[in-house]
Symmetry: C2
Subunit: 414 residues, 2 copies
């Protein structure tokens, strides 16, 4: 008898009919003998509705109160699923973050889990109940409601699986697995059977919306096998995400991703002297803004342009900080582009194969797409391009690295 | 500088526009120097929406999970009002039941408050913040969410006022005070300037929807002055509810009420022997169902008919219990009427004036309304009549006791 954590996203619990289907699935799995902990998101659209209400009352709503507000979404889902499970003879109990508790740091809207107390979960499981956990939420040391950031119900699920030493964490979503690219953009995209944490991390971080980045990090750290599968079709095998193994070795490129949710900022004419980068990026980090790519042009007249990207939701705050700094440090001004596209090629095979970056640049040049920024890691190459060329770039790269004629070199797909 | 508790009901916070108006009112009162604790209900319609979702999933949804579900309504209101107060420069902090905590007994859906911890409220007030409390909800000893029953945000407000020794508890509602009768039914109804707890208790218990019964009881017990006033028009003076004083002494009848939300059950042919009433009403009380009026007909053949009323929401459960009992105790069967009307005349003057009941029966006889049950207390006389005659009976009684030609004997009105 295994202990399994199952996570159902907003679409999966998006209506009364969908909640009934999820309950049926959970009851069948329970009847098969597994101990089950189910983590739920808010019903699709609910979190946006709640943020919208707050937005009507205040341009920048108080972060603590916004967490109190939006945490209700998951609370509703957890209660409804528990009610339905009880109705079909599968005893269940909902547990909210403060009832476990799921302890977090004090950062409202983007809190990090610092610990999970599992006593009530174990009690309920011993009592032969399915435990339904409200995802996305936590409690700080003061007993205040915190939330873990958008999409963080995945994180709750993985953290629960780690804390409970569950045998697996199944992420049910509206796609049936991890694909070599977004099938909505790349018609030739194929579903992957297995993928390593490292590749998934790059894919998640680069805008593949299947799994939340932090949840993959956490799964890797605590060796929690993730299974991404369809909540609409249980028959379909999903994608297994785990540690790298031998079967993955001959894979060159596993996927191509596109992130249209990035903004670009440039501080022009910065005096080129030691300590300036720290002076600029210190306050940005202090504000909790994650900077992705950074480029510093070669200095000519003793001054340089510093360009970097941030997630679009952080653009306004980043601009405020950078504009204030620009005056302080005597820069010549700040430019920004609200939407740029980041296109990336990911694959653990890059570690031992040269030439991926070169091929990538050639493909983009052939399509006449100008590259604005470049960043590389061990297993990925990313470029920033004008946002209107994002999809074109992605399709061209997918076909070049993962197209049908590339099957021999391609990843293990279903 | 006084400490005042203000409670805003569902209509008062029923939309973003209404919440803005409430925030403006609260900020003005704060600026005038009072320390404020604000208790809010769920936005109008939200609690019903949530109960509706549960009802789509299960005919009799699990009580614990239903509380988890519906408690979100007040949580949303509390967060939204706090956000708005912050936006207009009036620092506020929301506190949920589990954060105080508001401790209750374990009875889901109808829990009773057993204690309130005020430490966090005092901290926030010292910090010059308005405290916004989510009404209607509590926490039992296990840390589970409980709710206090429909309309119980009033109760939360009074309990907070009692615990904080507030100088007054203002109940803002969609009417501008307590009337001699429902103005929608009685065109001659007038607003009362003052009313005693005892009268208000009878009025609240008898279907005047202005204040929740238990909140008036609690206010009387802890000497909390209540002020009922309009949330739509702050200029209007409301109705003051407090201990009886000399100015009230010459009031014969203060109000006439109508409750159309009662059901009548009759157990026919019960063997007339000691202990049977306890046998019948014990299990009903155990199920937490409040029985209002009880009539036992004079016994003829050693058997008697036992008739009683319950709130309509409790009818089905009461029927289940009574039908099972009926067989056990060898009764001849159970009849019921889903909707009956209870019409009552209330006034502390009845204590020293005879003849109110007699006059009441005569008025109803003149209107040819048949009286099905009668119950009296020190300060009220109630009758149950066929539901279709409820409004007619109410109007006739109001005009007889409180009509314009009765002004001299009538209550002190505005």
């Amino acid at each position: 008898m295994a202990l399994v954590v199952k996570k159902f996203g907003g679409t999966s619990v998006g209506s009364i009919e969908r909640i009934k289907k999820v309950a049926d699935h959970v009851a069948r799995a329970r009847a098969a003998g597994d101990d089950l902990v189910v983590v739920v998101s808010a019903m699709a659209g609910e979190t946006n509705r709640l943020f919208g209400l707050a937005g009507e009352l205040c341009e920048v709503p108080d972060a603590r109160e916004t967490d109190v507000l939006v945490a209700t979404g998951e609370q509703v889902s957890a209660a409804l699923l528990s009610i339905r499970l009880g109705a079909i003879g599968c005893p269940a109990v909902s547990l909210l973050a403060h009832q476990l508790p799921v302890r977090t740091d004090p950062h409202h809207g983007r809190a990090r889990i610092t610990g999970i107390e599992c006593r009530r979960v174990h009690e309920a499981l011993r009592d032969h109940r399915v435990v339904v956990i409200a995802g996305y939420q936590g409690m700080n040391e003061r007993g205040d409601v915190t939330t873990l950031g958008r999409g963080a119900s995945d994180l709750t699920a993985v953290a629960m699986a780690a804390a409970l030493k569950a045998s697996a964490c199944e992420i049910f979503t509206d796609v049936d697995g991890v694909y070599t690219a977004d099938p909505n953009i790349c018609p030739h995209a194929r579903k992957l059977k297995r993928i390593s944490y490292d590749e998934m991390l790059e894919m998640a971080g680069l805008g593949a919306k299947v799994l939340q980045l932090r949840s993959v990090e956490l799964a890797r750290r605590f060796n929690v096998p993730l299974i991404v599968r369809s909540s609409f079709n249980e028959e379909l095998e999903g994608t297994w995400v785990g540690h790298e193994d031998r079967t993955m070795e001959n894979i060159l490129v596993s996927g191509v991703t596109l992130d249209q949710n990035q903004s670009k900022l440039t501080i022009a004419g910065v005096e080129d002297r030691p300590g300036l980068a720290a002076r600029i990026f210190g306050p940005i980090a202090d504000a909790g803004i994650v900077v992705d790519m950074i480029i510093q042009n070669a200095s000519a007249d003793g001054r340089t342009d510093m360009t970097f990207t941030v997630g679009r939701p952080d653009l306004r705050r980043a601009l405020e900080i950078v504009r204030a700094l620009s005056d302080e440090i005597g820069a010549r001004g700040v430019r920004h582009e609200e939407q740029v596209a980041k296109v990336s090629v990911v694959g653990i095979g890059m570690r031992s194969h040269a030439g991926v970056a070169a091929k990538m640049f050639k493909v983009l040049a052939d399509e006449r797409v100008n590259i604005e920024m470049i960043a590389t890691s061990e297993i990925k190459v990313s470029v920033v391009v004008n946002s209107k060329y994002g999809e074109l770039a992605m399709r061209a790269l997918h076909d070049a690295f993962l197209g049908e004629e590339q099957n021999n070199a391609g990843p293990e797909t279903l």
